[in-house]
Symmetry: C2
C-alpha cells in the first residue's frame, strides 16, 4: 500500500472477504394427470446447496463464493453461478448487501446478494459443485421452513419480496417463459410468484388497452397468419412474445 502518500486506512481492520450469495429462482411445471390437455401445475422453487465444510456443515445454503480482486461482484456472481450450476447467460441481478456484524463465523464478511431467474430446462443438467455435498431445487415455502446457513433465510425472504415487486412492475415474467407463450401461461407465471394475483379481464387488459398492449405482441407465422398453440388446451390459443418496451409507472399519472 501507498504509505508514502500518507494513506492510513491500511492501519485499520479490513474485511476478510466479499462473498456473493445467489438466490436462484425457477418455476417448475408438472402435468396434471387428468387425461385431457390442461395447464400444468407450476411451482416457484429455488436452488440450494447443502454445505459440506465448516461453518454450518450439513445446513442448506445459497450458492455463491468469494469475489476476487480482479473482478466485480457481478462477475463473481456470474462465475459462481456457472461453476455451481453450469448455467450462464441468464437474468442475474444485484439486489442487496448484507453486512450485519457476526453474520459469518469465518470473519468479517460483507456479502452481496444476487437474484437469478432461470428457466426450468436450463437447470436440468445442473451439477453439484466441488464443495457442496448436494444441490437441490426446493419449493420456496419448504426452503424458508428449513434452518439455513448464515443469514440466508433473511436473504431469501428479501429476494422473494423483490421478485414479487418486479413481477408486477417490470417484464421479468419473460425470464420464466418461452420466447412465444400464451396469455394463459403468462397469467400462470404471475400467479406462481404472487398467489393472490387476480385480474378478471386479464386477457383484455394485456391485449386491448392502449397503454399496456405495447408490452407484448402477437406472433405470426411466416405466411402472416396469427400463430397459435394448443399445447395446454383443446382450443388453440394465440401466441404472444414480449416486445422490448418497458413501461414506466407513476403514482401521479
Amino acid at each position: 500500500m501507498e504509505d508514502e502518500h500518507n494513506y492510513s486506512a491500511s492501519n485499520y481492520r479490513t474485511p476478510d472477504g466479499a462473498p456473493t450469495d445467489i438466490v436462484i429462482f425457477t418455476i417448475t411445471s408438472r402435468e396434471r394427470e387428468s387425461g385431457k390437455k390442461s395447464l400444468p401445475i407450476r411451482e416457484l422453487q429455488l436452488l440450494l446447496i447443502q454445505r459440506k465444510v465448516w461453518p454450518f456443515i450439513g445446513k442448506w445454503a445459497l450458492p455463491g463464493g468469494f469475489t476476487r480482486e480482479s473482478e466485480t461482484v457481478q462477475e463473481c456472481a456470474e462465475r459462481e453461478l456457472l461453476e455451481e450450476t453450469g448455467v450462464s447467460d441468464v437474468h442475474i441481478e444485484y439486489f442487496n448487501v448484507y453486512s450485519m456484524p457476526g453474520r459469518d463465523p469465518r470473519g468479517w464478511m460483507i456479502s452481496h446478494a444476487f437474484l437469478a431467474l432461470v428457466k426450468e430446462d436450463v437447470l436440468l443438467d445442473r451439477r453439484a459443485s466441488v464443495d457442496a455435498a448436494d444441490v437441490r431445487l426446493l419449493r420456496v415455502s419448504e426452503a424458508l421452513s428449513l434452518e439455513l446457513a448464515f443469514d440466508h433465510g433473511i436473504i431469501i425472504g428479501d429476494a422473494l419480496h423483490k421478485i414479487r415487486e418486479k413481477m408486477l412492475t417490470t417484464t421479468i415474467a419473460k425470464e420464466f417463459l418461452p420466447e412465444e407463450f400464451t396469455i394463459g401461461e403468462l397469467y400462470q407465471v404471475i400467479q406462481t410468484v404472487i398467489p393472490e394475483f387476480e385480474e378478471k379481464n386479464f386477457i383484455r387488459k394485456v391485449t386491448s388497452t392502449q397503454i399496456r398492449k405495447g408490452i407484448i405482441e402477437e406472433v405470426r407465422e411466416e405466411t402472416g397468419e396469427l400463430k397459435s398453440s394448443n399445447k395446454y388446451s383443446q382450443r388453440a390459443a394465440q401466441l404472444y412474445r414480449f416486445t422490448d418496451y418497458e413501461p414506466q409507472l407513476s403514482i401521479y399519472s
Copy 2:
C-alpha cells in the same frame, strides 16, 4: 482466523476496505424578485466535498468513509452523514455497490453507495469534516460537469436515475416537503427532480381520483375547517399531508 476448521478463504487476498459513498440530494428554494407573492425557484442540488488528502487531492468527491467491523454499511453511512454534515434522522437508503477493479488507487475497495434526501433547512448548519477542505452544495448539472474523484461521476448518475424513478413510483417527494404542503409545492418538487414532468390536470388526479387520492389527505384546523396557506399566492391554497399509504403499481392492472 479459524484454521483448525480447515477454512481456507484467509489464504486469499482480501479487500482493503469497504467504504460507503453518500449522494446527498436537497432541493433549494429561492424567492423570485417579482414583488408579488409567487412560487420560488427550486433547484436540485447535491453536497460534495473537496478532497484534501491523496488520492484525487483537490477534486470534488462524495462524502463517505470506511465501514468498521462493528457496524453495518447502513450504520456506517448514517455515521458518516452525521460526522460530515451534522445531519441525522433523514431518509438514507442503500442503492448500489461499486466494485470495478482499480476504481480506488488506495487498493481493493468495494464501495456501497447510499442516497440521502435532505430538506434544505437541515443542511443550513452543515460543517466541513476534519478531512475535507471544503463542503459545498452544487447544482446537479454543475456537479456532473466537474472532474470528480474515483468513479463518483458514475455513482451520481446512477443516483440521479434512481431518485427520478422513485420520485414517480413512491412518495419520496415528502422528503423534500414540509409536513403540510400545497399541491403547487408538490408539483414543483416533482418537476425539480424530473424537469419533463407535466400533468395537465394534476390537482384533480391527485385529489379526486379513487386510486390516487389515498396518498395525500387534506389538512384541517383543530376547529375542523380546511386549512390553507397563502405563502405562495394571493389566493390561499388547500394544505395537504402525505398519508402512510404507499401505492402498489402494476403493469398488468
